[in-house]
Symmetry: C2
Subunit: 134 residues, 2 copies
Amino acid sequence: MQLRMTNQREMILRELKKSKRHLSADELYDIVKKVMPRISLATVYRNLEILSEKGVIRKLEISGRQKRFDFDVSDHDHIYCAMCHKVDNLNIERKNVNSEQLGVEAGYSITGYRVEVIGICPECQKKEKIKEKK
Amino acid sequence: MQLRMTNQREMILRELKKSKRHLSADELYDIVKKVMPRISLATVYRNLEILSEKGVIRKLEISGRQKRFDFDVSDHDHIYCAMCHKVDNLNIERKNVNSEQLGVEAGYSITGYRVEVIGICPECQKKEKIKEKK
DNA sequence: CTCCGTGCAAACGATTTGCACTATG
DNA sequence: CATAGTGCAAATCGTTTGCACGGAG
């Protein structure tokens, strides 16, 4: 099965790349819909799924109900805002973590690992301070 | 709002403790239902939510569609089987990871972090080998 | 002209919620 | 006896799927 480059697919890819953020399917849908009003949410889901299977983009399995997608396929970890659920990149020196060893101890064969830092992003910190003053 | 110790709550807590695994709400429901056939799945969800809010148990936000719950509240990380979605414990020396520093760089205030190793558990490795032989 | 991709609506799985009833403290 | 907790069913949320049609190669 080979991929075809449809307008929808191209647009989804372009908008995901343009936005430096890590978008969820419906956020991306809202963006693309402005240019392509007839596009279906199912199309967005299908494309994100296929493109991440092919390794063109990356599906992030992180905290929160929704999956998010990343145009940057290279190995890197994420920081997650507990308040607004935004996801930013993190550059941890991965050599520090010797997870392989630990996994082998438990009898597992390791395919990968991820580090997820949870915190409150600068924007939400400001909001909190404003609230506190009230 | 104070907590009351109902039969349902006690049972949920006991079964979660008894099982060394990291159960999902519906797995726990199936177990408890054997002793308490009239219990509702909603009750299980509500109790797991409340108990993890109070810090009695811990809600794991990990890979996979379902949330899982852990009787062990202490800081520790998890290894996740990509095939059967089972979750085991992992004992990483947490001092190795200097996530706080990185989070601060991005302007975040850090509340925690987690390391999640993904792999294939011993049982599923065996299953794979059997498949290959066919 | 083939068959991958689309839009739509319906189906789905996990979780949450409104309501009237029950039972703990 | 006040009010936290329950069971049930319906609602919700994110995501997936069946189907007939449309368009890329």
